[in-house]
């Protein structure tokens, strides 16, 4: 049963140094507030999983939280590079970060398989791509019915998954609406999960087939108003495209980045945007 915790306490309890952590949100509902709390608590040696390492992972990497990143598209959407990710991979600053790289199809299927309790995902993929030559987690199996060669990857099963959602009811049931990405899969695939929400309400007011994650399938729910900014929350506030563009200049330079982090993460409490 989901426990209502402060974001500080939820991160302190469930995100351990060395853990495998998936913070998901496919360009929507990205859990920035939670990511900042992970930075503030100076978690280290994390294996960070995410289909689209957005600027939140750029910040975590630049802050020195990550040992390894598993991803399928690592950019600043519509803007360009993640300079902190590149600096870590290309120049080892603040320290070397290992990467394990997939395609979106592979990771989406791997999250699905993780939620489904399976050890692997099978799909038609990686044909002709050189990714299998640099990622030893990509294998191929033969279909016993047709003989077709299909790709197989291990399922994603994080120690802890963190997502942001619109709202929870008082039992900790959570509504996710709009672009739902792989958030439900991330929560169901993980040993522990933290969901930050815009608000807690009496009634979720959800339609019959809404994406609702039951409270008993979640470890902790924490209120984090505007917790997805500069990403957005469908029905609550829009995406700060401006900040995404501004991030390019902030992240290009180590000093500018460090200063930004100081002012906007370390020196703030949970309300950091």
């Amino acid at each position: 049963m989901a426990e209502f915790l402060s974001l500080h306490d939820a991160v302190a309890r469930y995100v351990e140094d060395g853990a495998t952590v998936a913070m998901e949100g496919f360009t929507h509902l990205i859990p920035f507030a939670a990511g900042h709390e992970v930075i503030r608590q100076q978690k280290r040696d994390l294996t960070l999983i995410r289909m689209t390492p957005d600027i939140i992972y750029d910040q975590l990497i630049g802050a020195g939280c990550a040992r390894k990143v598993i991803f399928s598209w690592g950019g600043n959407p519509g803007v360009g590079s993640l300079h902190r990710l590149r600096d870590a991979v290309e120049k080892g600053w603040p320290h070397k970060v290992e990467i394990l790289e997939h395609s979106h199809a592979a990771m989406a299927c791997a999250f699905e398989a993780g939620a489904a309790g399976l050890p692997l995902a099978v799909f038609r993929g990686y044909i002709g791509s050189e990714l299998p030559s640099v990622n030893d987690q990509i294998k191929f199996i033969e279909c016993p019915f047709t003989g077709e060669r299909l790709a197989a990857v291990p399922s994603v099963r994080p120690d802890v998954s963190i997502i942001h959602a619109q709202r929870a009811d008082r039992q900790g049931n959570v509504l996710v609406e709009g672009i739902v990405g792989v958030q439900k899969e991330a929560v169901l695939a993980a040993k522990h999960s933290i969901v930050t929400v815009e608000e807690v309400v009496d009634d979720l007011d959800a339609h019959p087939n809404a994406c609702v994650i039951p409270g008993w399938a979640i470890s902790a729910v924490a209120v984090a108003e505007k917790g997805a900014l500069p990403s957005y929350t469908h029905g609550y506030y829009g995406r700060s495209n401006r900040f995404y563009k501004e991030w390019d200049a902030i992240a290009r330079d180590r000093d500018t980045f460090t200063q930004w982090l100081d002012e906007n993460v370390y020196r703030t409490q949970e309300s950091a945007q």
Binding site: F26, T27, H28, M51, T52, F71, S72, W73, G74, G75, P77, G78, V79, S81, L82, L85, R86, V89, E90, E101, H102, S103, H104, A105, A108, C109, F111, E112, F123, R124, G125, Y126, I127, G128, S129, E130, L131, V134, E148, G178, I179, V180, G181, V182, K184, E185, C211, Y232, H234, G238, R239, S240, N241, R242, Y244, K245
Partner: protein
């Protein structure tokens, strides 16, 4: 009457025209998204645009900056989860055209969006494959659009993120359940198509005012030209107007907040 238009506009209009009305298109962000939406707003009102964020049959009023802008969900027929998007809609064979951009492309139309240099010691780390590797093999066919430059059009890509026709042009031969692959590449200089036999990219159409030399200078291999080299039709006034309005709306929308 000759209109004033830029090479970029020529590229977008030509890319847009490639999309047939009523086809289903899996749209990459950036140039493909611009072209696909221009198609929808001009000759192809019933083109079905699908973004990997799960937004099915979406009709954004402004171009999305990210693949998952709220605009996409708000104007979609419905929005599904990302696993469903890749499993049912792409891998399930429901996509006629995958529309992709790329950082590098080689003469067999292989795409590199992974890195420049060596994998373990990259000179430039690019964003990575994203949806492209499976879009390129599971969609019925693939259109590619990018700016023409010697940095982008290389003899051999540093890394095959996404299959065109393989490093030898035979990468799709005898592979079951695979799409046709790239059928055209639209740049700001020309249109290229793979040779039906060798799969080598051949320039089939030059944009108005562009010379063979310009294309050769901007291509990292000895590029071939079709025997019957065509001249790409110019953009119409209507297309240019709609494209400019779309970009103006987009700029305004993204400047805020």
């Amino acid at each position: 009457m000759s209109l004033e238009y830029s090479a970029s506009e020529m590229m977008s209009v030509t890319a847009a025209r490639a999309l047939e009305n009523g086809s289903t298109c899996f749209v990459g962000i950036g140039l493909p998204s611009e072209a696909a939406n221009l198609a929808r707003l001009t000759h192809a009102p019933d083109v079905v645009l699908i973004y990997e964020s799960g937004t099915l049959q979406t009709k954004p009023n402004v171009l999305p900056l990210s693949i998952g802008d709220g605009e996409l969900a708000e104007t979609a027929l419905t929005t599904v989860g990302v696993p469903e998007m890749f499993r049912y809609w792409l891998q399930g064979g429901k996509i006629d055209v995958g529309f992709l951009g790329t950082a590098q492309i080689d003469k067999y139309c292989n795409l590199n969006t992974t890195l420049i240099g060596d994998y373990r010691e990259p000179k430039v780390r690019l964003p990575g494959g994203g949806g492209a590797p499976e879009i390129a093999t599971n969609a019925g066919e693939v259109f590619i659009t990018l700016r023409h430059s010697r940095r982008a059009f290389v003899k051999n890509v540093d890394f095959v993120t996404t299959l065109g026709f393989g490093r030898d042009g035979k990468g799709r031969d005898n592979v079951p359940n695979i799409g046709k692959g790239p059928t055209r590449v639209i740049t700001d200089l020309c249109v290229m198509k793979p040779d039906p036999d060798t799969k080598e990219l051949v320039v089939v159409s030059l944009h108005p005012g562009v010379t063979r030399e310009e294309v050769m200078d901007a291509t990292g291999w000895e590029v071939r030209f079709a025997e019957r080299l065509e001249s790409t039709p110019e953009p119409s006034e209507n297309e240019l107007t709609i494209l400019r309005e779309l970009k103006a709306r987009t700029e305004q929308a993204h400047a805020g907040a």
